[in-house]
Symmetry: C2
Subunit: 248 residues, 2 copies
DNA sequence: ACAAAAGTGTTTTTTATACACCCATGC
DNA sequence: GCATGGGTGTATAAAAAACACTTTTGT
C-alpha cells in the first residue's frame, strides 16, 4: 500500500479526501453432516439495526490491535466451540453504499467486509447460543435472504469450497481422525453432488496417491461388510503439496 | 454513579474499541514482453516517507465515494495508458503494524491493503512519468527489496498469474487482436518457463478446444515459414467457462 | 439365503508426453 | 541448398470413466 503521506497542506487540499473505514470480517462457515448428507452453513440472526431480525453470516468489526485473521477467529470462537477447522481469506467487498450505516447523503464512514471461509468438523461443533440472537446451521439449499450482501459472499464461499475440495486436502481437516473411505466419499458427495465420480474410481485414485494409510481396524455399521478405518498421513502428503493434484 | 450517561460509558468500555482504517489499494501489474521474453512488473519509486526512495507497487489510498476497484483502476490509469487489461482482486493484508505510519505505541489509524492483480498489453502500455517519482517495468527475476510488505504481495500475485494462465483465457485479454500460435506459446513460456509443455502438444491442445479461429492471414517474420494469424473467439469459449479447462 | 455395504478388477476411452518428420520462406 | 521457424502426425504411456464382480457382514 502506498499512498501519499501528508506532504504539503496545499497539496492535500487539492486532492480528494480519503475515506475512513471500519473493517468488518464475515465468515462463511461450512460443515458437513455426513449422517444426513447435508452441507450446512452457519447463520446468525441480527439483533441490531440495520437488518434487525434478519439472518446473516457471523461477522464482527475489527478491533484496535487485532489482525483480520484474529477477528475471524474471534467470531468463530464466539459462535461455535470447535477444535478442528480450516480457515482462509475469501474476498474483500468494499464498494461505497454496501452498508446502510454509511451516511447515505454525504460520505461518512465506510464499511468494508473482508470475508473468510471456514470449514469445521460438524460432529464436534457446539453452537454457542448467547440467549439473545438466533444461531443455526442452514442447509445450503435453504438459505434465506440474508442481510447486507451476504448472499453474494456465501455464494462466493460455496464456489471456493467446491474448488478447494478438488485439489486440496481440506476434507481431512474436518473428518474425524480415522474414517472409512465411504465416509470420505460421502463427504465429497455431499458437497459436490452425486455425479462427481463413481465410488470405486474415487477410491482407487485416492489410494494410489498414497497418503491414506489403513489402520487395519474395521468398523461395522449396520448391515454390510465392515470397512477399514483410514488415517490421513500428513507427511506422506507433504511432497504432493502445491502439485496439481486432483482428487476429483 | 448515576444518570443514563454512565451506563452507556460502562457498556462501551466493556467492549474493545474498534480500529479505524485507511484502506489502500496496491496493484501487481504484469506485462509480458514477448519480443524479449520477459515477464515484467510495474514498480514506482516512493517520493514520500515512509520508505522514501524505495521501489514499491503502485498503490493509492481509497477516497470517499470510491469503490476498491475504482481505486485500483485509478492508480493504474495514473501510471500507464493502456486499453486492454485484465484486473482482479488478489488478497487483503491487514495486520496491525504492517504500515509504519500506524502509531507504533498506541493503536492509531490502521492501514489495510487490498491488493489487485492486473495484466496489461505490453506493446500498447505507455508509462506515465510524472517527472517526480520513478516508474519502471522490472523483470520478475530482478525485483529489488520493496517498501512495506510489497515483496510478499508481489509473490502472491505471481503465483496467481501462473495459476490463472493454466485454466483461464487471460492471455487473450493481453495479446494483440490477432496473433500467431507461436506468439501464444511464447507468452506462456515467458510466464511459466520453458518446460511447461512441448510446442506441438500445446498447439494441438489449444486448437482442439475450438475457440481459436484461423483468420487465414499469414505473416512472415524473418526466415521460416509464415504463420497463420489466429483470433480468440469469445463466443466459442463461453460454453467452456467455469469448466475445468486446462491449457497447460 | 439374501440384502447391503465394502472392496477388487477389467475394459474402453480419452489425455498427456515425447518425438519424428514435412512445409514454406529468406538468404 | 540449407537454416529457420511453422505445422502435422504417430507411437507410447498414463489417466479418466464405466461397470461387472467378489467379499463379508447383519438379519
Amino acid at each position: 500500500m502506498s499512498g501519499r503521506g501528508t506532504k504539503k497542506v496545499a497539496d492535500t487540499l487539492k486532492k480528494q479526501a480519503l475515506a475512513d473505514f471500519k473493517v468488518g470480517v464475515d465468515n462463511v462457515i461450512f460443515s458437513v453432516d455426513t449422517e444426513q448428507n447435508r452441507l450446512l452453513v452457519l447463520l446468525v440472526m441480527r439483533d441490531d439495526e440495520p437488518y434487525l431480525g434478519q439472518w446473516c453470516l457471523p461477522g464482527t468489526l475489527v478491533r484496535k490491535g487485532e489482525s483480520l485473521e484474529d477477528a475471524a477467529d474471534r467470531i468463530l470462537a464466539e459462535k461455535i466451540k470447535v477444535k478442528n477447522l480450516y480457515l482462509e481469506q475469501l474476498y474483500t467487498f468494499g464498494g461505497p453504499g454496501r452498508d446502510p450505516r454509511e451516511a447515505p447523503d454525504s460520505f461518512g464512514v465506510r464499511y468494508l467486509a473482508v470475508s473468510y471461509f471456514a470449514l469445521v468438523r460438524f460432529a464436534e461443533a457446539e453452537l454457542i447460543a448467547d440467549g439473545v440472537s438466533g444461531i443455526a446451521w442452514y442447509p445450503i439449499e435453504q438459505i434465506p435472504p440474508l442481510a447486507f450482501d451476504h448472499n453474494q459472499i456465501l455464494e462466493y464461499g460455496y464456489r471456493r469450497l467446491r474448488n478447494k475440495l478438488e485439489y486440496s486436502p481440506v476434507a481431512f481437516d474436518v473428518l474425524p481422525e480415522v474414517f472409512t473411505l465411504s465416509d470420505l466419499y460421502q463427504f465429497y458427495t455431499t458437497v459436490l453432488g452425486e455425479n462427481f465420480s463413481d465410488y470405486s474410481n474415487f477410491r482407487a485414485r485416492l489410494l494410489k496417491l498414497g497418503f491414506l494409510c489403513d489402520t487395519g481396524i474395521k468398523v461395522s455399521r449396520g448391515a454390510g461388510r465392515p470397512a477399514s478405518l483410514y488415517r490421513f498421513d500428513a507427511e506422506a502428503f507433504a511432497p504432493l503439496k502445491d502439485k496439481p493434484l486432483v482428487f476429483i
